[in-house]
Protein backbone atom coordinates (compact mmCIF):
# COMPACT_ATOMS: atom_id res chain seq x y z
CA UNK A 1 0.00 0.00 0.00
CA UNK A 2 1.10 3.55 -0.75
CA UNK A 3 1.45 5.99 2.16
CA UNK A 4 -1.39 8.20 0.94
CA UNK A 5 -3.75 5.22 1.25
CA UNK A 6 -3.13 4.78 4.96
CA UNK A 7 -5.17 6.27 7.78
CA UNK A 8 -3.78 9.03 9.97
CA UNK A 9 -3.35 6.72 12.98
CA UNK A 10 -1.48 4.18 10.84
CA UNK A 11 0.79 6.91 9.50
CA UNK A 12 1.40 8.34 12.98
CA UNK A 13 2.43 4.92 14.32
CA UNK A 14 4.87 4.45 11.45
CA UNK A 15 6.22 8.00 11.73
CA UNK A 16 6.97 7.38 15.40
CA UNK A 17 8.90 4.23 14.56
CA UNK A 18 10.90 6.25 12.05
CA UNK A 19 9.84 4.06 9.11
CA UNK A 20 9.67 7.15 6.89
CA UNK A 21 9.57 10.93 7.13
CA UNK A 22 6.79 13.44 6.60
CA UNK A 23 8.21 14.36 3.19
CA UNK A 24 7.48 10.81 1.99
CA UNK A 25 3.78 11.22 2.87
CA UNK A 26 3.64 14.53 1.00
CA UNK A 27 5.34 13.00 -2.04
CA UNK A 28 2.83 10.23 -2.08
CA UNK A 29 -0.13 12.63 -1.74
CA UNK A 30 1.10 14.98 -4.48
CA UNK A 31 1.78 12.13 -6.84
CA UNK A 32 -1.73 10.76 -6.25
CA UNK A 33 -3.20 14.22 -6.83
CA UNK A 34 -1.34 14.51 -10.10
CA UNK A 35 -2.82 11.22 -11.32
CA UNK A 36 -6.45 11.39 -10.21
CA UNK A 37 -7.29 15.04 -9.54
CA UNK A 38 -8.04 15.82 -13.20
CA UNK A 39 -10.85 13.25 -12.95
CA UNK A 40 -12.09 13.81 -9.38
CA UNK A 41 -11.69 17.60 -9.02
CA UNK A 42 -11.86 17.50 -5.22
CA UNK A 43 -9.76 20.66 -4.80
CA UNK A 44 -10.22 24.24 -5.94
CA UNK A 45 -7.78 26.88 -7.25
CA UNK A 46 -5.22 24.13 -7.88
CA UNK A 47 -2.53 24.78 -10.47
CA UNK A 48 -0.89 21.90 -12.32
CA UNK A 49 2.49 21.01 -10.90
CA UNK A 50 2.11 23.45 -7.99
CA UNK A 51 3.52 22.04 -4.76
CA UNK A 52 3.53 24.41 -1.83
CA UNK A 53 5.82 23.60 1.10
CA UNK A 54 4.55 22.90 4.60
CA UNK A 55 6.28 24.06 7.75
CA UNK A 56 4.95 21.74 10.42
CA UNK A 57 6.21 21.19 13.93
CA UNK A 58 6.94 17.54 13.33
CA UNK A 59 7.46 16.48 16.94
CA UNK A 60 3.97 17.34 18.26
CA UNK A 61 0.99 14.97 18.53
CA UNK A 62 0.10 14.95 14.83
CA UNK A 63 3.69 14.85 13.58
CA UNK A 64 2.98 17.42 10.86
CA UNK A 65 0.37 15.26 9.13
CA UNK A 66 -1.51 17.32 6.55
CA UNK A 67 -5.27 17.86 6.93
CA UNK A 68 -7.51 18.90 4.05
CA UNK A 69 -9.89 21.79 4.79
CA UNK A 70 -13.23 22.71 3.26
CA UNK A 71 -13.25 26.08 1.49
CA UNK A 72 -15.58 27.70 4.07
CA UNK A 73 -13.20 27.40 7.05
CA UNK A 74 -10.86 30.38 7.42
CA UNK A 75 -7.16 29.64 7.05
CA UNK A 76 -4.86 32.63 7.59
CA UNK A 77 -2.90 33.45 4.46
CA UNK A 78 -4.66 30.75 2.43
CA UNK A 79 -7.61 31.76 0.24
CA UNK A 80 -11.04 30.82 1.61
CA UNK A 81 -13.75 31.61 -0.91
CA UNK A 82 -16.71 29.36 -0.01
CA UNK A 83 -16.54 28.36 -3.67
CA UNK A 84 -18.39 31.58 -4.47
CA UNK A 85 -17.56 34.36 -6.88
CA UNK A 86 -18.59 36.88 -4.23
CA UNK A 87 -15.60 35.85 -2.09
CA UNK A 88 -13.20 35.79 -5.02
CA UNK A 89 -9.58 36.27 -3.84
CA UNK A 90 -10.62 36.47 -0.16
CA UNK A 91 -7.60 35.66 1.98
CA UNK A 92 -8.50 35.51 5.69
CA UNK A 93 -6.36 37.55 8.06
CA UNK A 94 -6.96 34.99 10.84
CA UNK A 95 -7.38 31.26 11.47
CA UNK A 96 -10.64 29.61 12.46
CA UNK A 97 -10.42 28.15 15.99
CA UNK A 98 -10.38 24.59 14.60
CA UNK A 99 -7.38 25.54 12.43
CA UNK A 100 -5.47 26.98 15.43
CA UNK A 101 -6.27 23.81 17.35
CA UNK A 102 -4.98 21.60 14.54
CA UNK A 103 -1.80 23.64 14.24
CA UNK A 104 -1.26 23.51 18.01
CA UNK A 105 -1.62 19.74 17.87
CA UNK A 106 1.13 19.61 15.23
CA UNK A 107 -1.06 19.18 12.17
CA UNK A 108 -0.31 21.01 8.95
CA UNK A 109 -2.99 22.63 6.85
CA UNK A 110 -2.97 21.13 3.36
CA UNK A 111 -2.46 24.01 0.91
CA UNK A 112 -5.29 23.04 -1.46
CA UNK A 113 -8.78 23.71 -0.12
CA UNK A 114 -11.64 21.28 -0.75
CA UNK A 115 -14.51 21.96 -3.15
CA UNK A 116 -18.06 22.51 -1.86
CA UNK A 117 -21.47 23.79 -2.87
CA UNK A 118 -21.36 27.60 -2.81
CA UNK A 119 -21.77 28.66 0.84
CA UNK A 120 -22.60 25.00 1.61
CA UNK A 121 -25.94 25.40 -0.21
CA UNK A 122 -26.44 21.99 -1.74
CA UNK A 123 -26.30 18.22 -1.55
CA UNK A 124 -24.14 17.44 -4.58
CA UNK A 125 -21.22 19.93 -4.84
CA UNK A 126 -22.66 20.93 -8.23
CA UNK A 127 -23.33 24.46 -6.93
CA UNK A 128 -19.62 25.31 -6.69
CA UNK A 129 -18.43 28.37 -8.62
CA UNK A 130 -15.47 26.20 -9.64
CA UNK A 131 -17.58 23.38 -11.11
CA UNK A 132 -18.58 19.98 -9.70
CA UNK A 133 -16.49 17.33 -7.96
CA UNK A 134 -16.84 13.78 -9.24
CA UNK A 135 -17.54 10.72 -7.10
CA UNK A 136 -14.39 8.54 -6.94
CA UNK A 137 -16.55 5.37 -7.09
CA UNK A 138 -18.25 6.47 -10.29
CA UNK A 139 -17.03 9.62 -11.97
CA UNK A 140 -20.42 10.31 -13.57
CA UNK A 141 -22.01 10.57 -10.11
CA UNK A 142 -21.97 13.38 -7.57
CA UNK A 143 -19.89 12.97 -4.40
CA UNK A 144 -22.75 14.36 -2.31
CA UNK A 145 -22.55 17.70 -0.64
CA UNK A 146 -21.96 20.20 0.46
CA UNK A 147 -18.60 18.85 1.74
CA UNK A 148 -18.19 16.82 -1.48
CA UNK A 149 -14.60 17.91 -2.08
CA UNK A 150 -13.50 16.83 1.40
CA UNK A 151 -15.24 13.43 1.10
CA UNK A 152 -14.00 12.77 -2.45
CA UNK A 153 -10.43 13.73 -1.52
CA UNK A 154 -10.42 11.28 1.40
CA UNK A 155 -12.12 8.49 -0.62
CA UNK A 156 -9.67 8.88 -3.53
CA UNK A 157 -6.64 8.97 -1.19
CA UNK A 158 -5.81 12.51 -2.29
CA UNK A 159 -6.09 13.39 1.41
CA UNK A 160 -5.28 11.55 4.63
CA UNK A 161 -8.26 13.10 6.41
CA UNK A 162 -10.33 16.25 6.17
CA UNK A 163 -12.63 18.75 7.83
CA UNK A 164 -16.09 19.55 6.52
CA UNK A 165 -19.11 21.40 7.87
CA UNK A 166 -22.62 20.06 8.39
CA UNK A 167 -25.78 22.20 8.47
CA UNK A 168 -28.32 19.64 7.25
CA UNK A 169 -26.17 16.62 6.38
CA UNK A 170 -23.26 18.22 4.54
CA UNK A 171 -20.66 15.96 6.20
CA UNK A 172 -22.65 12.74 6.60
CA UNK A 173 -24.32 12.56 3.18
CA UNK A 174 -21.09 13.01 1.15
CA UNK A 175 -19.31 10.60 3.52
CA UNK A 176 -22.05 8.10 2.74
CA UNK A 177 -21.88 8.69 -1.04
CA UNK A 178 -18.08 8.36 -1.05
CA UNK A 179 -17.73 5.37 1.33
CA UNK A 180 -15.90 7.17 4.14
CA UNK A 181 -16.60 8.14 7.76
CA UNK A 182 -18.19 11.52 8.58
CA UNK A 183 -19.27 12.96 11.91
CA UNK A 184 -21.48 15.90 12.81
CA UNK A 185 -20.72 16.73 16.44
CA UNK A 186 -23.30 17.96 18.96
CA UNK A 187 -24.22 21.61 18.39
CA UNK A 188 -21.82 23.59 20.60
CA UNK A 189 -19.16 20.85 20.79
CA UNK A 190 -16.88 22.48 18.20
CA UNK A 191 -16.26 26.22 17.89
CA UNK A 192 -17.72 27.85 14.78
CA UNK A 193 -15.35 30.83 15.00
CA UNK A 194 -13.90 31.27 11.52
CA UNK A 195 -16.45 29.02 9.84
CA UNK A 196 -18.13 31.25 7.27
CA UNK A 197 -21.70 31.10 8.57
CA UNK A 198 -24.56 29.51 6.66
CA UNK A 199 -27.20 28.86 9.38
CA UNK A 200 -25.74 29.70 12.77
CA UNK A 201 -28.14 27.61 14.86
CA UNK A 202 -27.40 24.48 12.79
CA UNK A 203 -23.78 24.67 11.54
CA UNK A 204 -21.08 22.43 13.01
CA UNK A 205 -17.57 21.57 11.81
CA UNK A 206 -16.62 17.88 11.84
CA UNK A 207 -14.20 15.25 10.51
CA UNK A 208 -14.29 13.19 7.30
CA UNK A 209 -11.91 10.25 7.61
CA UNK A 210 -11.02 6.76 6.35
CA UNK A 211 -11.98 5.03 9.57
CA UNK A 212 -13.65 5.55 12.94
CA UNK A 213 -10.39 5.81 14.91
CA UNK A 214 -9.25 8.79 12.81
CA UNK A 215 -12.65 10.44 13.35
CA UNK A 216 -12.26 9.98 17.12
CA UNK A 217 -8.77 11.50 17.08
CA UNK A 218 -9.76 14.48 14.94
CA UNK A 219 -12.96 15.17 16.90
CA UNK A 220 -10.94 15.22 20.11
CA UNK A 221 -8.56 17.82 18.68
CA UNK A 222 -11.15 20.25 17.31
CA UNK A 223 -13.69 20.07 20.17
CA UNK A 224 -13.92 22.38 23.15
CA UNK A 225 -15.09 25.70 24.51
CA UNK A 226 -14.03 28.86 22.75
CA UNK A 227 -14.62 32.38 24.06
CA UNK A 228 -14.82 33.51 20.42
CA UNK A 229 -17.98 31.43 19.91
CA UNK A 230 -20.62 32.14 22.54
CA UNK A 231 -22.59 29.08 21.42
CA UNK A 232 -19.72 26.68 22.10
CA UNK A 233 -20.31 24.77 25.32
CA UNK A 234 -17.97 24.78 28.29
CA UNK A 235 -17.83 21.04 28.84
CA UNK A 236 -14.82 18.75 29.16
CA UNK A 237 -13.72 16.96 26.01
CA UNK A 238 -13.29 13.24 26.70
CA UNK A 239 -10.53 11.18 25.10
CA UNK A 240 -12.68 9.75 22.32
CA UNK A 241 -10.14 7.06 21.45
CA UNK A 242 -11.06 5.40 24.75
CA UNK A 243 -14.49 4.62 23.29
CA UNK A 244 -12.86 2.38 20.69
CA UNK A 245 -12.49 -1.38 21.05
CA UNK A 246 -15.37 -1.79 23.48
CA UNK A 247 -18.13 -4.31 22.99
CA UNK A 248 -21.72 -3.19 22.36
CA UNK A 249 -23.52 -5.92 24.29
CA UNK A 250 -26.76 -4.60 25.76
CA UNK A 251 -26.60 -1.24 23.94
CA UNK A 252 -30.17 -0.17 23.19
CA UNK A 253 -30.71 0.88 19.59
CA UNK A 254 -33.90 2.42 18.23
CA UNK A 255 -34.88 1.95 14.58
CA UNK A 256 -37.30 4.75 13.61
CA UNK A 257 -40.11 3.43 11.44
CA UNK A 258 -40.53 6.82 9.72
CA UNK A 259 -37.12 6.36 8.07
CA UNK A 260 -38.04 3.17 6.25
CA UNK A 261 -40.72 4.42 3.93
CA UNK A 262 -41.52 5.01 0.29
CA UNK A 263 -38.80 6.76 -1.68
CA UNK A 264 -36.05 4.67 -0.17
CA UNK A 265 -33.94 2.77 -2.68
CA UNK A 266 -34.56 -0.98 -2.33
CA UNK A 267 -30.85 -1.82 -2.52
CA UNK A 268 -30.06 0.74 0.18
CA UNK A 269 -32.80 -0.82 2.29
CA UNK A 270 -31.28 -4.28 1.89
CA UNK A 271 -27.78 -3.09 2.79
CA UNK A 272 -29.07 -1.24 5.87
CA UNK A 273 -31.06 -4.26 7.04
CA UNK A 274 -27.92 -6.39 6.82
CA UNK A 275 -26.00 -3.79 8.82
CA UNK A 276 -28.73 -3.80 11.46
CA UNK A 277 -28.52 -7.61 11.68
CA UNK A 278 -24.77 -7.28 12.16
CA UNK A 279 -25.31 -4.89 15.08
CA UNK A 280 -27.74 -7.39 16.57
CA UNK A 281 -25.27 -10.23 16.22
CA UNK A 282 -22.79 -8.13 18.20
CA UNK A 283 -25.14 -8.17 21.19
CA UNK A 284 -26.97 -4.86 20.91
CA UNK A 285 -30.70 -4.75 21.56
CA UNK A 286 -32.77 -3.40 18.67
CA UNK A 287 -36.31 -2.14 18.82
CA UNK A 288 -38.58 -0.13 16.54
CA UNK A 289 -39.19 3.46 17.68
CA UNK A 290 -41.16 6.40 16.37
CA UNK A 291 -40.05 9.96 15.55
CA UNK A 292 -43.52 11.14 14.53
CA UNK A 293 -42.56 14.58 13.20
CA UNK A 294 -39.90 13.29 10.80
CA UNK A 295 -41.85 14.31 7.68
CA UNK A 296 -41.79 17.96 8.79
CA UNK A 297 -38.00 18.16 9.14
CA UNK A 298 -37.29 19.16 5.52
CA UNK A 299 -39.87 21.98 5.37
CA UNK A 300 -38.82 23.26 8.82
CA UNK A 301 -35.19 23.17 7.73
CA UNK A 302 -35.77 25.11 4.53
CA UNK A 303 -37.43 27.88 6.51
CA UNK A 304 -34.94 28.11 9.39
CA UNK A 305 -31.78 27.52 7.36
CA UNK A 306 -32.70 29.99 4.61
CA UNK A 307 -33.87 32.60 7.12
CA UNK A 308 -30.55 32.43 8.96
CA UNK A 309 -28.63 32.34 5.68
CA UNK A 310 -30.37 35.44 4.34
CA UNK A 311 -29.24 37.28 7.44
CA UNK A 312 -25.71 35.85 7.52
CA UNK A 313 -25.11 36.55 3.84
CA UNK A 314 -26.15 40.18 4.12
CA UNK A 315 -22.48 40.94 4.85
CA UNK A 316 -21.47 40.13 1.28
CA UNK A 317 -22.14 43.52 -0.25
CA UNK A 318 -18.95 44.40 -2.07
CA UNK A 319 -17.65 46.69 0.68
CA UNK A 320 -15.26 44.86 3.00
CA UNK A 321 -14.07 41.91 0.94
CA UNK A 322 -14.56 39.90 -2.19
CA UNK A 323 -16.16 40.82 -5.49
CA UNK A 324 -17.56 44.28 -6.22
CA UNK A 325 -19.55 45.24 -9.31
CA UNK A 326 -19.05 48.75 -10.62
CA UNK A 327 -21.73 51.38 -10.09
CA UNK A 328 -21.79 55.04 -9.08
CA UNK A 329 -24.85 54.46 -6.92
CA UNK A 330 -24.47 52.59 -3.60
CA UNK A 331 -27.75 50.62 -3.62
CA UNK A 332 -27.15 49.68 -7.24
CA UNK A 333 -23.62 48.59 -6.38
CA UNK A 334 -25.00 46.25 -3.68
CA UNK A 335 -27.61 44.84 -6.02
CA UNK A 336 -25.28 44.26 -8.95
CA UNK A 337 -22.53 42.85 -6.73
CA UNK A 338 -24.93 40.33 -5.22
CA UNK A 339 -26.55 39.55 -8.59
CA UNK A 340 -23.18 38.83 -10.20
CA UNK A 341 -21.44 37.38 -7.13
CA UNK A 342 -23.99 34.80 -5.94
CA UNK A 343 -24.92 31.66 -7.87
CA UNK A 344 -28.45 30.52 -8.57
CA UNK A 345 -28.99 28.42 -5.43
CA UNK A 346 -27.58 31.14 -3.16
CA UNK A 347 -29.99 33.69 -4.64
CA UNK A 348 -32.90 31.27 -4.29
CA UNK A 349 -32.13 30.66 -0.61
CA UNK A 350 -31.48 34.30 0.26
CA UNK A 351 -34.76 35.36 -1.32
CA UNK A 352 -36.71 32.51 0.32
CA UNK A 353 -35.10 33.34 3.68
CA UNK A 354 -35.85 37.03 3.32
CA UNK A 355 -39.45 36.18 2.43
CA UNK A 356 -40.13 33.92 5.45
CA UNK A 357 -38.75 36.63 7.76
CA UNK A 358 -40.59 39.50 6.12
CA UNK A 359 -43.50 41.42 7.60
CA UNK A 360 -46.77 39.57 7.22
CA UNK A 361 -45.15 36.17 6.68
CA UNK A 362 -42.96 35.83 9.78
CA UNK A 363 -45.64 34.18 11.98
CA UNK A 364 -46.92 31.86 9.29
CA UNK A 365 -43.50 30.59 8.28
CA UNK A 366 -40.54 31.38 10.52
CA UNK A 367 -42.26 31.31 13.93
CA UNK A 368 -44.25 28.22 13.01
CA UNK A 369 -41.04 26.47 11.88
CA UNK A 370 -39.36 27.25 15.21
CA UNK A 371 -42.31 25.66 17.00
CA UNK A 372 -42.21 22.53 14.87
CA UNK A 373 -38.47 22.43 15.56
CA UNK A 374 -39.40 22.05 19.25
CA UNK A 375 -41.66 19.11 18.36
CA UNK A 376 -38.85 17.46 16.40
CA UNK A 377 -36.47 17.88 19.31
CA UNK A 378 -39.09 16.49 21.72
CA UNK A 379 -39.38 13.37 19.51
CA UNK A 380 -35.68 12.68 20.02
CA UNK A 381 -35.76 13.44 23.75
CA UNK A 382 -38.57 10.92 24.17
CA UNK A 383 -36.71 8.14 22.31
CA UNK A 384 -33.43 8.84 24.12
CA UNK A 385 -35.13 8.28 27.46
CA UNK A 386 -35.15 4.57 26.66
CA UNK A 387 -32.47 4.17 24.01
CA UNK A 388 -28.72 4.79 23.75
CA UNK A 389 -28.77 5.52 20.05
CA UNK A 390 -30.79 5.54 16.86
CA UNK A 391 -29.71 3.83 13.65
CA UNK A 392 -30.93 4.82 10.17
CA UNK A 393 -29.68 5.01 6.59
CA UNK A 394 -27.68 8.22 5.96
CA UNK A 395 -29.39 8.83 2.62
CA UNK A 396 -32.43 7.27 0.91
CA UNK A 397 -30.40 6.62 -2.26
CA UNK A 398 -26.80 6.02 -3.26
CA UNK A 399 -24.93 8.78 -5.16
CA UNK A 400 -27.01 10.12 -8.04
CA UNK A 401 -25.83 11.22 -11.47
CA UNK A 402 -24.32 14.65 -12.01
CA UNK A 403 -27.09 16.86 -13.43
CA UNK A 404 -29.88 14.49 -12.41
CA UNK A 405 -31.42 16.70 -9.74
CA UNK A 406 -29.92 20.13 -10.40
CA UNK A 407 -32.96 21.40 -12.34
CA UNK A 408 -35.37 20.60 -9.50
CA UNK A 409 -34.42 22.28 -6.19
CA UNK A 410 -37.18 20.53 -4.26
CA UNK A 411 -36.00 17.08 -5.36
CA UNK A 412 -32.47 18.04 -4.33
CA UNK A 413 -33.68 19.22 -0.91
CA UNK A 414 -35.26 15.81 -0.30
CA UNK A 415 -31.81 14.14 -0.57
CA UNK A 416 -31.24 15.31 3.01
CA UNK A 417 -34.40 13.80 4.46
CA UNK A 418 -32.53 11.46 6.86
CA UNK A 419 -29.84 13.88 8.01
CA UNK A 420 -31.69 17.16 8.60
CA UNK A 421 -33.51 16.26 11.86
CA UNK A 422 -30.17 15.76 13.59
CA UNK A 423 -29.17 19.39 12.98
CA UNK A 424 -32.58 20.67 14.03
CA UNK A 425 -32.34 18.70 17.29
CA UNK A 426 -28.68 19.64 17.83
CA UNK A 427 -27.63 16.02 18.45
CA UNK A 428 -24.48 14.27 17.17
CA UNK A 429 -24.51 11.69 14.35
CA UNK A 430 -21.98 9.69 12.37
CA UNK A 431 -22.12 8.06 8.95
CA UNK A 432 -20.01 4.94 8.37
CA UNK A 433 -19.61 2.72 5.30
CA UNK A 434 -21.87 -0.33 5.57
CA UNK A 435 -22.03 -1.85 2.10
CA UNK A 436 -22.37 -1.27 -1.63
CA UNK A 437 -25.06 -1.39 -4.29
CA UNK A 438 -24.72 -3.88 -7.16
CA UNK A 439 -23.32 -1.09 -9.31
CA UNK A 440 -20.57 -0.51 -6.77
CA UNK A 441 -21.79 2.65 -5.05
CA UNK A 442 -21.22 2.97 -1.29
CA UNK A 443 -24.05 3.03 1.26
CA UNK A 444 -23.73 4.76 4.63
CA UNK A 445 -25.19 3.81 8.01
CA UNK A 446 -26.13 6.72 10.25
CA UNK A 447 -25.93 6.47 14.03
CA UNK A 448 -27.40 9.24 16.22
CA UNK A 449 -26.87 9.73 19.97
CA UNK A 450 -27.83 12.02 22.83
CA UNK A 451 -26.30 15.51 22.96
CA UNK A 452 -22.60 15.36 23.94
CA UNK A 453 -22.51 11.58 23.73
CA UNK A 454 -20.16 11.30 20.76
CA UNK A 455 -18.52 8.48 22.74
CA UNK A 456 -21.55 6.28 22.07
CA UNK A 457 -21.23 6.96 18.32
CA UNK A 458 -17.56 6.01 18.28
CA UNK A 459 -18.17 2.92 20.38
CA UNK A 460 -20.93 1.56 18.17
CA UNK A 461 -19.33 2.64 14.89
CA UNK A 462 -15.98 1.14 15.82
CA UNK A 463 -17.50 -2.16 16.95
CA UNK A 464 -19.31 -2.40 13.59
CA UNK A 465 -16.23 -1.40 11.62
CA UNK A 466 -14.04 -4.04 13.30
CA UNK A 467 -16.45 -6.72 12.07
CA UNK A 468 -16.64 -5.48 8.47
CA UNK A 469 -14.29 -4.68 5.61
CA UNK A 470 -16.30 -1.96 3.84
CA UNK A 471 -14.05 0.88 4.99
CA UNK A 472 -11.00 -0.84 3.54
CA UNK A 473 -12.28 -1.00 -0.04
CA UNK A 474 -10.75 1.52 -2.45
CA UNK A 475 -12.28 2.96 -5.63
CA UNK A 476 -10.57 2.28 -8.96
CA UNK A 477 -10.24 5.68 -10.57
Amino acid sequence: MELNQLTAHELLAKLKKGQFVLEDILNSLYSRIQTVEPKVKAFVRIKAGERPVLNPSADALLGGLPITIKDNICTAGLNTECCSRILEHFCPPYDATVISKLKNAGGSIFPFKANMDEFAFGSSTENSYFGPTHNPWNLTCVPGGSSGGSAAAVASDEAIWALGSDTGGSIRQPASFCGVVGLKPTYGRVSRFGLIAFASSLDQIGPITKDVEDAAILTGIISGYDTNDSTSVNKDVPDYTRSLGKDIKGIKIGIPKEYFIEGMDSEVKGVIQEAISKLKSLGSILNPVSLPHTQYAVPVYYIIATAEASSNLARFDGVQYGYRAHSDNLIEMYKKTRAEGFGEEAKRRIILGTFVLSHGYYDAYYLRALKVRTLIKNDFDAVFKDFDCIVTPTSPTPAFKIGERSADPLKMYLSDIYTISVNLAGIPAISIPCGFTKKGLPVGLQIMAKPFNEEMLFRLAHAFEQETEWHKLKPKI
Binding site: S201, P299, V319
Partner: protein, 95 residues
Amino acid sequence: MGIDKKTVEDVAHLARIELQPSELEKLSRQLHDILGFIDQLSSLDVAQVKPASHILPISNVLREDKPHVCLTPDKALENAPGKSGNFFSVPKIIE
Protein backbone atom coordinates in the same frame (compact mmCIF):
# COMPACT_ATOMS: atom_id res chain seq x y z
CA MET B 1 -50.06 30.66 1.01
CA GLY B 2 -48.32 31.15 -2.31
CA ILE B 3 -45.96 33.74 -3.69
CA ASP B 4 -46.42 35.84 -6.82
CA LYS B 5 -43.94 37.57 -9.10
CA LYS B 6 -44.54 40.97 -7.56
CA THR B 7 -43.73 39.65 -4.04
CA VAL B 8 -40.55 37.97 -5.29
CA GLU B 9 -39.54 41.25 -6.90
CA ASP B 10 -40.14 43.17 -3.65
CA VAL B 11 -38.29 40.61 -1.55
CA ALA B 12 -35.36 40.59 -3.99
CA HIS B 13 -35.14 44.35 -3.55
CA LEU B 14 -35.10 43.93 0.25
CA ALA B 15 -32.36 41.31 -0.15
CA ARG B 16 -30.46 43.71 -2.46
CA ILE B 17 -30.29 41.28 -5.36
CA GLU B 18 -30.95 42.46 -8.89
CA LEU B 19 -32.90 39.87 -10.88
CA GLN B 20 -33.04 39.56 -14.66
CA PRO B 21 -36.60 39.10 -16.02
CA SER B 22 -35.88 35.45 -16.86
CA GLU B 23 -34.52 34.83 -13.35
CA LEU B 24 -37.57 36.43 -11.80
CA GLU B 25 -39.85 34.22 -13.87
CA LYS B 26 -38.01 31.00 -12.96
CA LEU B 27 -37.50 31.90 -9.31
CA SER B 28 -41.17 32.80 -8.81
CA ARG B 29 -42.18 29.40 -10.15
CA GLN B 30 -39.63 27.54 -8.01
CA LEU B 31 -40.41 29.47 -4.82
CA HIS B 32 -44.10 28.86 -5.41
CA ASP B 33 -43.42 25.09 -5.52
CA ILE B 34 -41.12 25.16 -2.49
CA LEU B 35 -43.63 27.13 -0.43
CA GLY B 36 -46.36 24.73 -1.53
CA PHE B 37 -44.27 21.91 -0.10
CA ILE B 38 -43.54 23.89 3.07
CA ASP B 39 -47.25 24.54 3.58
CA GLN B 40 -47.71 21.05 5.03
CA LEU B 41 -46.55 22.64 8.31
CA SER B 42 -49.86 24.51 8.54
CA SER B 43 -51.65 21.22 9.25
CA LEU B 44 -49.96 21.00 12.66
CA ASP B 45 -51.47 22.51 15.77
CA VAL B 46 -48.63 24.43 17.41
CA ALA B 47 -50.64 26.90 19.47
CA GLN B 48 -49.27 25.53 22.76
CA VAL B 49 -45.70 24.87 21.55
CA LYS B 50 -42.77 27.10 22.48
CA PRO B 51 -40.51 28.13 19.60
CA ALA B 52 -36.94 26.73 19.60
CA SER B 53 -34.96 29.69 18.39
CA HIS B 54 -31.93 27.92 19.79
CA ILE B 55 -31.30 24.33 20.72
CA LEU B 56 -29.03 24.93 23.74
CA PRO B 57 -30.14 26.41 27.03
CA ILE B 58 -27.71 29.32 26.65
CA SER B 59 -28.59 32.96 27.09
CA ASN B 60 -26.72 36.22 27.52
CA VAL B 61 -23.15 35.02 27.34
CA LEU B 62 -21.02 37.81 28.79
CA ARG B 63 -17.31 38.48 28.84
CA GLU B 64 -15.16 40.86 30.80
CA ASP B 65 -14.99 44.29 29.24
CA LYS B 66 -11.25 44.34 28.73
CA PRO B 67 -9.28 45.63 25.74
CA HIS B 68 -7.71 42.92 23.61
CA VAL B 69 -5.66 42.67 20.45
CA CYS B 70 -7.67 43.09 17.26
CA LEU B 71 -6.89 43.36 13.56
CA THR B 72 -4.74 46.33 12.57
CA PRO B 73 -6.30 48.73 10.02
CA ASP B 74 -3.90 47.43 7.37
CA LYS B 75 -4.98 43.83 7.96
CA ALA B 76 -8.66 44.73 8.13
CA LEU B 77 -8.43 46.54 4.79
CA GLU B 78 -6.34 43.89 3.07
CA ASN B 79 -9.32 42.34 1.26
CA ALA B 80 -11.24 45.55 0.56
CA PRO B 81 -12.31 46.04 -3.07
CA GLY B 82 -12.06 49.82 -2.49
CA LYS B 83 -10.16 51.74 0.19
CA SER B 84 -8.94 55.20 0.90
CA GLY B 85 -6.51 55.78 3.75
CA ASN B 86 -7.77 53.86 6.75
CA PHE B 87 -11.30 53.55 5.36
CA PHE B 88 -13.37 51.33 3.11
CA SER B 89 -14.53 53.40 0.17
CA VAL B 90 -17.96 53.09 -1.46
CA PRO B 91 -19.90 55.04 -4.10
CA LYS B 92 -21.20 58.39 -2.84
CA ILE B 93 -24.35 58.07 -0.70
CA ILE B 94 -25.39 61.71 -0.26
CA GLU B 95 -26.13 63.74 -3.38
